[in-house]
């Protein structure tokens, strides 16, 4: 996948994350936005990528995980907890997706997995997350997506 498509994926994840967890928070609103985001990511993947490529079959879910990671920076309470949980979700998607590829003869994306794992582990020790730290985290996630 080329750099422009990767950048577009990040941009879309960032864009949809802006609508999540805005007050008043409700089950319908949040699940609705998440489901709608998935539809957008799915259609985007279908229209712009060659889905015959096995590594793209979980693309919308990777984008959703990234979107949820971005969205945690706008939380007002329990930010550290959900920051870690969202990265664990991303790690989950990548690890088990990668595991199925290993059984089909492809390589495990270890660098990406270790990078996300490191982010989740490091995030657990953040007692206070400032605006600057939020920005740094977002840059880190984009870098993981783009380069690994």
């Amino acid at each position: 996948m080329d750099a422009i498509l990767n950048a577009l994926c990040c941009l879309m994840a960032l864009g949809t994350s802006m609508f999540l967890w805005r007050r008043p928070v409700s089950i319908f609103k949040e699940t609705g936005i998440l489901a709608l985001s998935l539809v957008v990511f799915g259609l985007f993947s279908y229209l712009t990528m060659d889905l015959a490529e096995p590594t793209l079959e979980y693309m919308p879910f990777r984008m959703l995980a990234l979107c949820i990671c971005f969205s945690t920076t706008s939380l007002t309470s329990h930010k550290t907890r959900y920051l870690v949980l969202s990265q664990v979700l991303w790690l989950w998607v990548e690890f088990f997706g990668g595991l199925t590829f290993v059984y089909h003869g492809l390589d495990m994306p270890w660098t990406r997995i270790v990078a996300i794992g490191a982010g989740a582990f490091g995030g657990a020790f953040l007692s206070h997350i400032s605006r600057e730290m939020e920005f740094l985290l977002m840059v880190y996630w984009i870098a993981v997506w783009m380069f690994f």
């Binding site: 319908f28 539809v39 590594t55 919308p60 879910f61 989950w92 199925t100 089909h104």
Partner: protein
């Protein structure tokens, strides 16, 4: 009310019992299979009931861990449904085996002679993860149930919920890998873990809504969640269509369209309306699991035999009977004559309990969990080091990828038992302690027996020396009888090794010489730990010819 439901359950159970018996007797020919559909209705029902078993943990543990506990009745109903669903689900892999007397083959036991469970197979992960999930769920249920009588147990509930939270997601992820790691085109899916988890939670919510309706109560947050999940499931079905072109109108209509009726006040405020929607979701998910498990080019459901339907009836009947018998009878025995399980503190409307907060401070969770977690991590590390370093001629090389799936279940098992052992021991009576000690002893003996394996001594006696000379004949028998597992060239059938358990033997000259020809002939004819006997299908001379052919193959491999 419970009595009527028990009668309904018993009627369904009796209707299906005959089909269950026939399935055990006849094996896989009893239900619908074809060239492509080698996993029929038993595995579909297994996947469905395992999915339903996740409701309890979702509703009780995950909500509790995140600080949004539900009412006690809701939690207990959900947790009990988990245990009953697990009991139902556990039966179907045994039915699927076809050879019920070889039931132990689903257990990944070790063997002193070198037979080793195939840790590369998701089926082995499956067994371990589901067993751990069952044990920890039982422990969680018991802790929750007795916490009203023994307030000391209350402080364990939330730490236990934190342990179960990842486990429940992990278990269904592993179930999804049974499919996703294979080469079947319809099961191609790196997204299957999320798909299965969403489906499990969706069906589990529907089940809990039905059970709560039978209790004459409702929890609105669960209905909202079910409706929200219907949108996610709709996307998963859309993605399946975009990726593979597979689409089922019935599944989408019942699972994604009908639930939208909950937007109508007249439906959601009416018990029958809620039941209609919840049943629709269950039927949809049941159908979806069947279509997924049986990837035929035609509609396999049209070829349902009476046995298939009987097994469905059996599973429904067994669950209903188990659940409501326990609910109506045993619960009062557990908590006293006047109360029914879960009703000790329940005096108010369940629907108002969504926002109730637990009194335990969050920091307590970690301080209570610290030591058990540390122990769990240590044991898990030991397991990883041992599994990767173990040297065994029959073992396909293991990598981190093969070992990681069992790490979390092992960690949670050790941590949860360490967490609960002392408080539960403290409140147990003498009789319970003796029973526990005896059970632990029996478990230890069983583990030892599994480790040691059975005897493979060759009995003394006359052995026919008549031989068959034709290598061609031996090659023909090898291709038809042995190559399926051992591979055409004797170096494993790679697909078998990747997907199934147990792992076949490696044919090396050293191993063949060690075992000796007579011993190998006996293994072929009478079977051994994981190998079925071929006496009656292969003559003694043919077996001897096969052993010679094995030597020939092993020699070629050198």
């Amino acid at each position: 009310m419970y009595r009527i439901l028990v009668y309904i359950g018993a009627a369904l159970l009796l209707l299906g019992a005959f089909a269950f018996g026939v399935s055990l007797w006849e094996g896989p020919t009893a239900w619908h299979t074809d060239v492509r559909t080698f996993w029929g209705i038993p595995i579909s029902l297994f996947v469905l009931w395992i999915g339903l078993a996740h409701a309890g943990t979702l509703i009780s543990a995950i909500f509790l861990a995140l600080g949004y506990p539900l009412g006690r009745r809701t939690s207990m109903v959900a947790e009990l449904s988990t245990l009953c669903s697990l009991a139902v689900a556990a039966l179907f892999p045994l039915v699927h085996l076809g050879i019920i007397e070889n039931f132990y083959m689903v257990v990944p036991f070790l063997d002193a002679r070198g037979n080793f469970s195939n840790l590369r197979s998701p089926l082995v992960w499956d067994f371990c993860c589901i067993s751990v999930y069952g044990l920890v769920s039982l422990l969680f249920f018991a802790t929750h149930l007795f916490s009203e009588k023994f307030p000391d147990l209350k402080k364990l509930i939330r730490p236990m919920a934190w342990l179960l939270f990842p486990l429940v997601l992990w278990v269904h992820t592993i179930v999804s890998l049974d499919f996703a790691v294979t080469f079947v085109p319809q099961w191609r899916g790196a997204f299957f873990p999320l798909y299965f988890i969403a489906g499990a939670i969706y069906s589990g919510l529907a089940l809990v809504i039905i059970l709560l309706t039978a209790e004459h109560c409702r929890v609105r947050v669960l209905e909202k969640l079910m409706l929200g999940l219907s949108w996610f499931m709709a996307f998963f079905w859309l993605w399946e269509f975009l990726l593979k072109g597979s689409f089922s109108f019935e599944v989408v209509f019942l699972g994604a369209v009908v639930p939208q009726l909950m937007w109508l006040r007249v439906i959601r405020e009416n018990a029958f309306g809620r039941l209609l929607v919840a049943f629709s979701v269950l039927v949809s998910l049941g159908l979806e699991r069947y279509i997924l498990v049986t990837p035929s080019e035609y509609n396999a459901a049209e070829y349902f035999s009476w046995t298939d339907l009987g097994l469905v009836s059996f599973s429904l009947g067994l669950f209903t009977t188990l659940f409501f018998v326990f609910r109506a009878k045993f619960s009062s025995l557990l908590e006293g004559e006047d109360v029914v399980m879960g009703e000790i503190v329940l005096q108010q409307d369940e629907s108002d309990k969504e926002s109730e907060k637990v009194s335990l401070p969050e920091k307590n969770d970690f301080s209570i969990l610290r030591l058990p977690l540390l122990l769990g991590v240590l044991v898990t590390l030991l397991y990883v080091v041992w599994a990767i370093s173990v040297e065994n001629t029959n073992l396909a090389p293991l990598s981190v990828v093969n070992v990681v799936p069992l790490c979390l279940p092992l960690l949670v098992l050790v941590a949860s038992f360490t967490l609960c052992a002392r408080p539960l021991w403290g409140i147990s009576g003498k009789r319970v302690k003796v029973v526990c000690a005896v059970l632990a002893g029996i478990l230890g003996c069983l583990a030892g027996a599994f480790w040691a394996g059975g005897s493979s001594d060759v009995p003394s006696g006359a052995v026919s020396v008549q031989e068959i000379d034709s290598t061609k004949t031996a090659e023909f028998i090898w291709s038809s009888r042995c190559a399926g597992c051992h591979g055409q060239d004797g170096k494993f059938n790679e697909k078998f090794v990747r997907e199934f358990y147990p792992l076949p033997q490696k044919l090396t000259p050293v191993r063949l010489d060690t075992l000796g020809e007579d011993s190998l002939v006996k293994v072929i004819l009478d079977g051994r730990v994981n190998m079925n006997p071929y006496r009656g299908r292969v003559s003694e001379d043919e077996a001897r010819g096969l052993v010679r052919y094995m030597r020939h193959l092993a020699g070629e491999g050198e």
